[in-house]
């Protein structure tokens, strides 16, 4: 029986933590609040250390619209600065990546060293009367920390340290990252018309593997697919799926997809042939491992309906050309703009946004429940998505199913 307007507009008949109001994806006020209460309060992934190996290597990026530059200073420490000159605010470093000995603002040639100190003011006698002096004109430094070669930053100077923030979820990838000398070999950025949370949650909602031809044939055909429990970090809002209950790896049958072979060679140290380990770090970073390659994927919001997804591929530093080529081949089978799943994931986000944007769909149902024993849930339950929105609610001080009391207020 199709639903009437009235049924359609009232909340789904599921518990309150099992649905979300679509306004979390579209409402500009909530987005502005997110920037303040969530995005500038949590640790944000920047890049992999292999992108800034030498002194002076830098990456520019931005977060909540603020241009930033992350650079390895002469003391080998990786630092992040607001990429804006203290004089008239121009962006200083303009290129996506490179190496620099110092930072020159091209507008009036002011100089900064790689510690953020202002080292040169052109014709500085002009500042004798009113100042500011060089000492008062340093760049704004933003807290930066690295874990397992992943560089993170945090606008909130008082937040808990990065290691503590990741907490027990580190067990999903810490040993593997420790045993392999990773370097980046793939990067793509995709602009999409949709909310940053919708993108992140495609990496956390394994129920949507039904939407991928690859995952249907190589994953869902294996009966033990469902024997991997979600390992949820309730304190920090992270989660991962790795080994099954009997501690055996879940092995992906890549050969089930026409033209592919199983991944028995080039297996990363710490993983078994075909093994799949998927980690999601609140609020927006996923570390996926498919036996021979690692995918780091995160989303940068530019507005409620505009997100840039950034995707990195990690291989082994110094491996032969042939090995690297095979690893890259396997990476781009599943991930990347010309892969089997890349376009599909972006389409899922954009098509959902298309409806949420105009209120065509008021709610997002996340009520799947698949217990596996001693309080754990199977991968295709919505357990993690519920945890994500529980955490979102904590930071925002608003329930995700009714963030602006839409239901009580006259809609």
């Amino acid at each position: 029986m199709p639903r009437t307007a009235e049924e359609f507009l009232s909340p789904p008949s599921v518990p309150e933590d099992c649905y979300v109001s679509s306004s979390v994806y579209t409402d500009p006020d909530l987005y502005a609040e997110e920037e303040e209460k969530l995005l500038r309060r949590t640790w944000k992934f920047v890049c992999h250390v292999s992108e800034v190996p030498n002194i002076g290597d830098y990456r520019t990026h931005d977060w909540t619209g603020v241009p930033l530059v992350t650079v390895r200073s002469p003391d080998k420490k990786v630092r992040t600065f607001v990429n804006s000159c203290s004089h008239r605010g121009s962006r200083v470093v303009r290129y996506p990546a490179g190496n620099m000995k110092h930072m020159t603002c091209f507008f009036h040639l002011w100089e900064y060293d790689l510690y953020g100190n202002c080292t040169y003011q052109t014709r500085d006698e002009g500042y004798e009367a009113h100042g500011p002096t060089k000492e008062q004109a340093g760049l704004r430094e933003v807290r930066t920390d690295t874990f397992c070669g992943l560089v993170f930053m945090n606008f909130d100077g008082n937040a808990a340290p990065l290691r503590e923030y990741i907490g027990e979820t580190a067990t999903a990838f810490e040993s593997i990252f420790g045993e392999n000398d990773f370097e980046i070999f793939h990067l793509n950025r995709t602009h999409m018309k949709g909310n940053w949370k919708a993108w992140f949650l495609t990496n956390c909602d394994f129920y949507h593997e039904w939407g991928h031809q690859v995952n249907r044939s190589t994953n869902l055909t294996s009966p033990d697919y469902h024997d991997r429990p979600w390992r949820l970090n309730h304190a920090q809002g992270h989660g991962y799926t790795a080994r099954k209950l009997d501690n055996e790896p879940f092995v992906v049958q890549y050969k089930n997809y026409k033209g592919w072979k199983n991944r028995d060679g080039l297996v990363l140290r710490g993983l078994q042939p075909g093994e799949l380990v998927l980690t999601d770090l609140f609020p927006n970073t996923s570390v996926f491992m498919r036996t021979t390659c690692v995918r780091i994927n995160h989303s940068t919001p530019y507005g409620p309906d505009h997100t840039v997804m950034e995707e990195r591929g990690l291989g082994i530093k110094g491996e032969s050309e042939a090995d690297r080529r095979q690893r890259a081949k396997e990476f781009t089978q599943v991930w990347g703009p010309y892969s089997r799943n890349g376009a599909e994931d972006v389409a899922f986000v954009e098509e959902s946004h298309r409806c949420q944007e105009f209120g065509a769909n008021k709610y997002d149902v996340i009520s799947r429940n698949e217990p596996i024993g001693d309080g754990l849930q199977r991968p295709q339950s919505d357990a993690y998505v519920r945890l994500f929105y529980d955490k979102w609610g904590d930071y925002m001080g608003r329930p995700a199913n009714n963030p602006k009391n839409l239901m009580t207020a006259a809609e």
Binding site: N83, R91, H108, H130, P132, F155
Partner: protein, 412 residues
């Protein structure tokens, strides 16, 4: 030492506690709307050069604060400006950028207006006999227009002082020279800039940024006496710098830039060879002299973070083809979309806006002071004109430029 969040967000440590502005003056939509009403529709705004509307019926369409306008020379040789909208149902009447017309026809219902703005024809006029209005009450809204040294200006405020009084002594560096010749526009380009119209205008006024242009470093900053020119601050927010304190002209050394020659030939009457002058007319027009070239540059606001920069080059009417070509060559060396400096200036404004837009840098410093020994005049790399501009802006807005919306008091 780098700065922490608290230092970064608190006002810069400048001795007078004032020589900075709050970046919201460039990005805040409310301030932008208020500016339109209190600044942009209260001051004289440059439209074009008289050579662009030379004969009766020659017109030029443009817009100011979003209002479509048309400036046209009437049959009585008088230059007028009208709001470019039909009195019937408001369609834009004149849609071309420039041209000549005997009268103005609204394409929508074929209403006609003459060059003095009178409504002269309505199809099936009998339809208005019962309820009116009649043609006499339907003429176009005329905007006050006046000319100074061949430059056409308009002012939405009918009660404002005259154009000549408004410009005052700021006309001194260019009025005589403009009147020494019959000039015409030979170069025109406009550039959409992702930045605020004031940021663009103040790039023209901030000579300290000559350090960033390779051309200016080599041909000007290195030239003896470069710093011996005082800023001449004028009322109404204008200012100019031309001669040194001792009255001698500043002559640019163009041959210091690889493959260029000095500008000793084709110099405008009243200028010395190689002479450089710049006049900044509040709120948005800069008049540049580079010996053989005249540049008129102004910025039209579209939105807080979007403006259109318009650039005109003036030359002598009727000069020989060779002279015109040499003058053009020298103009496009420095100005125009393929010149050495233009893309650099646009990049500065856009790079600055990229940070201010997101609050990455809440303040904009203007604390440079370089006084002459007389303790009165200030050298050209001082920020004295920037302080003067923002003083005038604050006066018209009734808001301090360093804290326009009481950000500092209100919880940020």
């Amino acid at each position: 030492m780098s700065r922490n969040a608290e230092e970064h967000l608190s006002p810069p440590k400048v001795a007078d506690g004032e020589s900075y502005i709050h970046a919201s003056v460039y990005t805040d939509p409310d301030l932008f709307a208020e500016e339109e009403e209190k600044v942009l529709r209260r001051t004289w705004k440059f439209v074009c050069h008289i050579s662009e509307v030379e004969k009766a019926g020659d017109y030029r369409t443009h817009q100011w604060t979003g209002v479509p306008l048309v400036t046209i020379r009437g049959n009585d040789d008088k230059v007028r400006t009208f709001v470019n909208t039909c009195s019937h149902r408001g369609a834009k009447i004149v849609r071309d950028v420039a041209g000549n017309m005997k009268h103005m026809t609204c394409f929508f219902h074929m209403w006609e207006y003459d060059l003095e703005g009178n409504c002269t024809y309505q199809p099936r006029e009998e339809g208005y006999e019962e309820l009116g209005p009649t043609k006499d009450d339907l003429s176009l809204r005329e905007i006050r227009t006046d000319i100074f040294a061949g430059l056409i200006f308009i002012n939405f405020d009918g009660n404002a002082e005259s154009l000549r009084d408004y410009i005052g002594e700021a006309g001194e560096p260019f009025e005589k020279i403009f009147n020494n010749h019959e000039l015409e526009v030979f170069h025109y380009n406009q550039t959409h800039v992702k930045g605020n119209w004031k940021a663009w205008y103040l790039t023209n006024c901030d000579l300290y940024h000559e350090w960033s242009h390779l051309v200016n470093r080599t041909t000007s900053v290195l030239t003896k006496g470069y710093h011996d020119r005082p800023w001449r601050i004028q009322p109404n927010g204008h200012g100019y710098n031309a001669h040194h304190l001792d009255g001698s002209p500043f002559q640019v050394n163009y041959k210091k830039y690889k493959s260029w020659e000095n500008r000793d030939h084709l110099v405008f009457k009243g200028l010395a060879p190689g002479e450089f002058r710049v006049t900044d007319i509040f709120p948005n027009l800069s008049v540049f002299f580079r010996a053989t070239c005249i540049r008129l540059n102004h910025s039209t606001p579209i939105a807080p973070g979007h403006c259109i920069m318009e650039e005109r080059g003036l030359a002598i009417k009727g000069e020989s083809r060779e002279d015109r070509r040499m003058r053009t060559k020298q103009f496009v060396q420095i100005w125009g979309p393929f010149s050495r400096n233009a893309s650099e200036d646009c990049a500065y404004v856009e790079a600055t806006h990229a940070c201010q837009e997101a609050g990455a840098n809440p303040y904009d410093l203007m604390s440079r002071v370089e006084k002459f020994e007389d303790g009165v005049h200030e050298r050209i790399h001082s920020d004295t004109y920037l302080r003067h501009f923002w003083g005038e802006w604050s006066r018209l807005m009734g808001r301090p430029a360093n804290n326009p919306k009481n950000f500092m008091e209100a919880a940020e």
